[in-house]
Symmetry: C2
Subunit: 330 residues, 2 copies
Amino acid sequence: MTGFSASTVSRVLNDKGEQYRISTRTTKKILKAAADYNYYPNRIARGLRLERTETIGFVVPDIANPYFSSIAKTIEVESRKRGYSIFLCDSLDDISTEKELLNLLAGRRVDGIILAPVGIDSGHVTDFRRRGIPIIIIDRYLPDSGIPYVTSDNYSGARQAVEYIISMGHRDIACIQGLNGISLNSDRVRGYMDSLVKIGIKAEKSLIVGDDFGEECGYIQARLLLGRKTRPTAIFALSNLISLGVMRATAEMGLKIPDDISLVSFDEQPYSALLASPMTTVEQSINEIARIAVNMLFDTIAGGNKEGRIKNIMLRPSLIIRSSVKNLLA
Amino acid sequence: MTGFSASTVSRVLNDKGEQYRISTRTTKKILKAAADYNYYPNRIARGLRLERTETIGFVVPDIANPYFSSIAKTIEVESRKRGYSIFLCDSLDDISTEKELLNLLAGRRVDGIILAPVGIDSGHVTDFRRRGIPIIIIDRYLPDSGIPYVTSDNYSGARQAVEYIISMGHRDIACIQGLNGISLNSDRVRGYMDSLVKIGIKAEKSLIVGDDFGEECGYIQARLLLGRKTRPTAIFALSNLISLGVMRATAEMGLKIPDDISLVSFDEQPYSALLASPMTTVEQSINEIARIAVNMLFDTIAGGNKEGRIKNIMLRPSLIIRSSVKNLLA
DNA sequence: CTGTTAGCGCGTTCAT
DNA sequence: ATGAACGCGCTAACAG
């Protein structure tokens, strides 16, 4: 439209006018025409030519979980600042779907992937990594996979929670856990047990129950625990959904928190402070985790993070103390 | 690798072997090689050639809001069934960001867009539509824009809620609203007022307060309402966040729901049933909204929905009755 | 300071 | 039943 060649237009629109010493008059003409005709370059053609699409894949087990959607927001905003768009992929907590999604993203030639992996088995992820697409793992980590990760220090979070419960005079503390075997869960359980050992109590096996991070698990296990002859005085719930289940169970059984049973939960939520008994929670710095993961990914994409310079990061969570734990010493 | 030309491989991999009468032996060889070498076609090159990328854009004001992340999940899953991936875009509730995102998506040559628009002004959306990229609007609608939408029937939802409150004997019912001027809000307020008119009460202006869907708005307005000499007996909150704010205010003031004040809220949440006083809510069929929107979009992409065949859809929400409204007639 | 050429990987048309 | 040639829109290399 301007009479100039595509090359010249391309150079101007990519801010290389100066480098190629395009005349100011030409530059202005081209920029004006681009604005007038509302021209936006075809990113598909660009991606093909550059072998760089300026897109990243974000794979999560469940985007409807507020925990992951908060992370999604940070990742999207941070990525866009750099001109990147993100493909949202929900693995439905299913490992074969996750595998399929990784292949799909490879076919779409994403420049990198942020993955919150589903399970324990990481074979397909390490396999996948050989294709050369940078991956950063968040939330959980895959031991010995050599893939860089950013997570919370779940061990520390658990210790803070349980040591606080102990400091309030509790000794019979139950732990309702999630999916056994994954790093996130075992780190939390280890923190729970070590806190007890520290004051000379051996963690009783019968007090560690549950096998799923969902609400139903919390409900069922709470009913069982509270139905025992000698019931624990406190419950440590390893996820936001588990504690919802616990609260439903206690309400149904006519028990009050913290009068009849104390409760501390992993994962701060918008409603945590607003419950009948404002809940003491372990808050993870999810925005920080997301931000760091994105930065690590872009470093790797830029080539600044070659093989061998793997950096793993664990962020310390903090305990938000409210009034869901009864003080037995008072 | 197989010795066959790219053309033949392409035909086999796109299931056109039969059409081109490729021999069974060749087909098998190619499929085997593709599997062995873990070959996935370059979707970028494909998109360039076909002028169809099999991607759609999903633009929301805030992906961290569980309401939108639930919708995102359905859209992602439904799209993937058809081989499509979605670009997640967060407009940060900012209209100029929304505008910029639409241009970005156009540059990425998405085949269609699902948009939960930020505000009242829809000029940029109608402008954008002239580029020929199909758009479906959800959550809110843009009156007179001629763009097809799928939303809840907010008027009906409000009537159900308020008529229920009335049926429990309440007459002094306050309404804490969100962003004034958008269809979603005004429809709900209209439903509230009409319900009162129906029983011969003129809606009092002083009982309709608030200007934002956030938690802070609910908190402030609740404190003001409950601090009045003659306080209302019930509050109708027009969003999940507003009702969180109301609950925080009542807790701080030492008031009990429903004994001291009754409450009904828009938007069912996972915790709604688990609050100290399980909350009566208006539940929108968000999964259904998302599913219908996706289907409409794919119809349009497939060309089955030419100009003029615009179809707007409103889904009736349902009232989930729990125990946050006191029965004054008992 | 600007234009011409070539090629990214694919699917399609034409040719055989 | 299969291959060769072409072009989608872009940018980097080369040419002047």
